[in-house]
Symmetry: C2
């Protein structure tokens, strides 16, 4: 193999592909250089003057190393890995550090295996982090549990790259034996452990880092970034759909620059399609005043170094030929994307087969509930005052408001009020668990809606003012194998959208999915859901029992601040 | 294990050792910070405020990460690894990337095994690079040959860290199959390959790098450094005894800084003892105007990153507790050195047992020659004009001068002239090979001298104006098992110094060795060797057939520029 590279580097034979007369970003010296870039097989063999069997004139273009997303959950796009790649590879992303936390909460290791295998269908390297916190909390029923023993057994697998974001920082600080076992297994295997530790400082941060954790994508303040970097962490600059901290780039200095990476964490298909992926982050960072070469270095070499990806993230002989050819360092419009030495996208369009999909049975039909009836949603409250959940538009933090409740036939009467019933129906183990709560101010009238994306255990979350419609919504979700649904009590009409992969992602293409998704969202608004909410997706976080204040899981109402279940009665 | 760290980090228990109230260099942000540094077992557990079972007041001191020497041949000190460590650990060096190229040329893999095992006696991490070029050239007889097959068999061994400096760059450029085999074996094992490619530029450099080579410690010009770094290499700043390029630090910029390392390559015991090791490099770099934090970062984090040494080279929780406590960032006088969390040196003195020595038979008695006689050194030249080797003081490049020769009994008569006879006696395989040459201007009169250090095959190199004295010198070297010798024809006296380990290094302590070495050198000067030469060590490079111009090996006189053997007759 090496002979071919060496002979081409010395121009004894033609290179396979040459980017002629390019400007290119040299991330090693921080300069923009000029020359031909020669590629043989998967490798760059040289910069300078070269002839190729295939040549691309890059006279007025700039070549960058392929981007590396330092932390991403593919599931947040609601797309299959193949379709996800078809959106982001043409933007210039060649490698992602992916944590399949959501699908693993539903399907266990079969979810990891699915993402790993599906990713092989596309020209993008998916470095798979074994999810470290499945389930996220012990207070809910998830589809799978990955305990210390499971981490030990799986962390050494070929398709597992490292250990995913360690969200359970109290578990680290309090030396939970199962947590310690997970961390020690990852160390024994020599794997990188991603972190997640918002607002952890001082001695607690020291203790968390003594778990051998390397990264954080949650920090936003100068103080937190400074402390985390000074304690050896890599810090991600995040460009998700909801969670953004591009402002972190303000704190980059020449001395700490190598510790910054870019990531997207959670990014929706609509944003990927209309705005882009890391290319959009680069565009915005540069518009905000960051030196473009610095921005590119964060998106490439720094990530490669953090994750120990050798010979990747730079344009140099023997380095992986993952290259992005852009119009300029302002717009970052990708004209060509080269992955492993092959042109895989041109003018923002994929040149690879995007129709090939891996779809194993193990991730399909994941909604396991008995047939539900109207009476399953009767809510008995032994008081005239109750706690109702509220949520700010655009946020994931919930509030708790004390409301007056009216009773009718042993049920709470919500019709015609500003209250709705909220229910989390366990959908993995057929436990029959239904957690119930009141929800104020969302606006839905005359029906019910539901979704099988409910962080992080992804049970069914339902909302409605009509028990029968709620039952119908749940039963429809079972029928379609997961997704989103809305039921109109008056007309009896049911509208749904299928997310067949684990109830989280669709095996369809992005365009069709988005079209149907928009229609369903519009229908929710037409039934009263206030336009300041993201109709369905705002519901998906009402069950996330690690974010304040009041949450609902399949086992009941949960007070995050007290970190305990609570009564609905006020 | 992690519990202990975490609990101490949270101050639930006392740390094992705390450096109280220290200033410390934060290599991640380039700042000097203030605080306590807490250590448990081998790890740093936190910075901030801590109490320890043992505490060291560092109020007026500065703490740095332990230094990492990016490339060193221990053999050049003529000391055992244990004694070598006793000199450099108290200076602050905690890790070395060691290439046992010399001892392996003599003893083969037994040489590597020896260095690896001996190193375990001392508190210093020796990352052993498997020598890639044994022998250095095919034109001489070495004690061992490590071919592609040998590299394949040994590169995966536990005690082998990577592949040593790949000096045979023509072999890479011309795709020598055995060279390719070595490189591919190292890649398959995922090992770092060190480079050595002086004055290789452009497409040839691209081709060399296509061998997957990561570092270079030979470059000195801005142009070469710039090109090598821009092509993804790490560049060493070298502080050897003879070969120095501290001036490379002038070319450090904030953007390329992370690609610079420090190394010593070849450093004599006398320099280690009187001036120091990397501490001396730091002192001089800072005196020359380099920012001290930058200098420290090159000597620590950068080297760790280059060689993939995780959690090493910085002061942070979970990072290895290799620490140097210095007086200030100008003098770098090490007050304490902490290795793996233990105080191993204080006030420049080792606190560890330096008397323990591993001394296997496999590296002893390595001088294998038949008994030599005066007539073995008869030099027949079929001309009155001959080529004589010359050498500039302080250099390793030799010259070629055409001289008149006088014959006497079928031998060249050198007595009373400015010429001496030079001979390389093969000492590994009993081949009986003796390469002979003339040497002009060295000054020795009335006797002979010899040494078993003769780069890189380390045969016996002899010099004299008296055949019988030359034979006596060779026989003495055999008798003592290698070392240095001087024979006075007039008195018949023989003075010698034993280098029992492979004929290269002594198992004695540095002090005694240096004392005897000085005496022997003085004796050489008293017998006429000009004081501008390093009496014995200048001889050791006369056989190095990769450095111009005229060299002598056991198979004959070698013209390096023509890369072929040559006649002595002019």
């Amino acid at each position: 193999m090496l002979e071919k590279l060496i002979k081409a580097a010395r121009r004894e034979v033609k290179a396979d592909l040459v980017l002629k007369n390019a400007s290119y970003v040299d991330v090693f010296t921080g300069k923009i250089r000029k020359g031909d870039i020669a590629v043989v097989g998967e490798k760059i063999v040289g910069t300078g003057e070269y002839d190729g069997k295939e040549e691309i004139d890059c006279t007025s273009l700039t070549v960058l190393p392929g981007y590396i997303d330092g932390h991403v959950h593919i599931e947040s796009s609601q797309l299959s890995p193949e379709e996800f790649a078809s959106l982001i590879v043409p933007r210039g992303t060649c490698t992602i550090i992916a944590d399949p936390h959501e699908i693993t909460n539903v399907c266990g290791m079969a979810g990891c295996e699915y993402i790993a295998t599906a990713s092989k269908n596309v020209p993008m390297d998916v470095m798979l982090q074994l999810p470290s916190c499945v389930p996220a909390t012990p207070f809910e029923t998830s589809g799978a549990i990955l305990g210390g023993k499971d981490i030990e057994e799986n962390i050494t697998k070929d398709y597992i790259f490292g250990l995913g974001e360690f969200m359970n920082y109290p578990g680290v600080l309090f030396c939970d034996p199962d947590v310690i076992r997970k961390l020690e297994a990852a160390h024994a295997a020599g794997k990188v452990i991603d972190g997640h530790a918002p607002n952890v400082y001082g001695n607690d941060l020291n203790a968390y880092l003594c778990g051998g954790i390397s990264t954080d994508h949650e920090c936003v303040t100068e103080e937190e970034i400074e402390e985390k970097i000074s304690k050896g962490m890599y810090v991600h600059i995040r460009h998700g759909s909801s969670t953004q901290n591009l402002g972190n780039a303000k704190y980059i200095t020449p001395a700490n620059m190598r510790r910054f990476l870019l990531c997207t964490d959670d990014r929706h298909a609509a944003d990927l399609k209309s705005k882009g992926h890391l290319d959009d982050a680069l565009r915005r960072l540069v518009a905000d005043g960051l030196d473009p070469v610095t921005a590119v270095t964060c998106a490439t070499l720094n990530a490669a170094e953090c994750y120990g990806l050798k010979f990747r993230g730079g344009i140099a002989p023997f380095w992986l030929a993952d290259l992005v050819v852009v119009d300029d360092l302002k717009n970052f419009n990708a004209q060509y994307v080269i992955k492993n030495g092959k042109v895989v996208a041109k003018d923002g369009k994929p040149l690879f087969d995007t129709s090939k999909r891996y779809l194993p049975k193990s991730v399909l039909n994941t909604v396991h509930v008995k047939d539900l009836k109207a009476e399953d949603f009767v809510l008995k409250i032994n008081s005239n005052k109750a706690k109702a959940m509220t949520i700010e538009p655009g946020g994931v933090v919930t509030g708790c408001e004390i409301v007056d409740v009216h009773h009718e036939n042993g049920d709470v009467a919500v019709k015609g009020t500003d209250l709705l019933k909220l229910a989390v129906v366990e959908r993995h183990k057929m436990t029959g668990n239904i957690g119930k709560a009141l929800f104020k101010g969302y606006g839905l009238k005359g029906g019910a809606m539901g979704i099988t994306i409910a962080h992080d255990s992804h049970n069914i979350i339902l909302l409605g003012d009509d028990n029968a419609a709620m039952a119908k919504a749940a039963n429809t979700l079972k029928e379609i194998g997961g997704g989103m649904v809305i039921v109109d009590s008056a007309s009896g009409q049911v509208h749904s959208l299928t997310l067949d992969i684990g109830g989280l992602m669709s095996s369809r293409d992005a365009e069709g999915l988005q079209h149907d998704s928009k229609q369903l969202i519009e229908r929710a608004h037409s039934m009263g859901v206030k336009r300041e909410y993201e109709a369905f997706m705002s519901l998906a976080f009402l069950s996330l029992a690690v974010i304040p204040k009041l949450k609902i899981v399949d086992k009941g109402l949960f007070d995050v601040e007290k970190f305990a279940f609570t009564e609905i009665e006020a």
